[in-house]
């Protein structure tokens, strides 16, 4: 059973200090993800690159 300790009526910290603490306590996911994302609109661009790419070297035999 936790012991009851009487807290002071007014907090000892300012509003800005409490907001700064809350920001650390409610830290969420990393905002920027470097993960590769599927982009359907990029398919046409990839096809164009494939068509424009030079042919592979031929064997001289």
């Amino acid at each position: 059973m936790p012991t009851q300790i009487n807290a002071p009526a007014r907090p000892l910290t300012t509003v800005a200090e409490r907001f700064a603490l809350t920001a650390l306590l409610t830290e969420g996911e990393a905002p920027v993800s470097a993960a590769p994302v599927h982009q359907p609109e990029a398919a046409g661009f990839l096809l164009l690159l494939l068509l424009l790419s030079p042919k592979g070297p031929k064997d001289r035999r």
Partner: protein, 225 residues
Amino acid sequence: MPVTDTALRDVYAAAVERMAGRALDALTGAGGAVAPAAPASTPELAALRVLGPDLFAAQLLSGAPLETATTTALGAALRAFPPETPTPDGTDQDALAVAWLDHVSGFLAGVAVHQPEHVPDSSHWQRWSVRMARLAPLALPGLDGPVHRAARREPLALARGTVRAMLRRDHRTALRLTRWLAWLGTPTPLELPPLLDRLHLVGDGSNRTALDLAITQALLTEHQR
């Protein structure tokens, strides 16, 4: 809408780093008391509030009695930064997560802090896993309650959240969820040792991450015995 003073937040974040280093030293047997010599400064009090149960990781993992100096310091931190009561219906999920951390911190410090009536909403695994990552300091031996029961009920959601965080390269969230999976102590949908090895390699090098890694490793070792 409240605006956070980023400079002040950075000062507090630096204090959290220092305090996490002391908790890590206590866990690895390299240091003394986690709490600083009294009286603690305001950033130190904030750091004590942020780390909460993690301050006692060394004692909770070894079954030793809690350090009196640290319980006293955490009690002072809870008085300096009084916990806020979440909305009764539990709609503010951020406030609810903080309230659970504060409740358990208060329990360990011997300060009565209101127990929230709700647990984070687990109906959507993606959002729930992010909230559970925030509540990772509760994943320690000797602690049990409604949040822990929710974790036991949803190992698949925790595993999905871990994989999602790994794919997003959000390694901090992934580590915190891996810690929950290690705490479960039961076969999980993910193989944890290789996952932890990977997180060791890609960690951000901060003391807090090192502390989470050490606790997760200790939980895994404990369950493998």
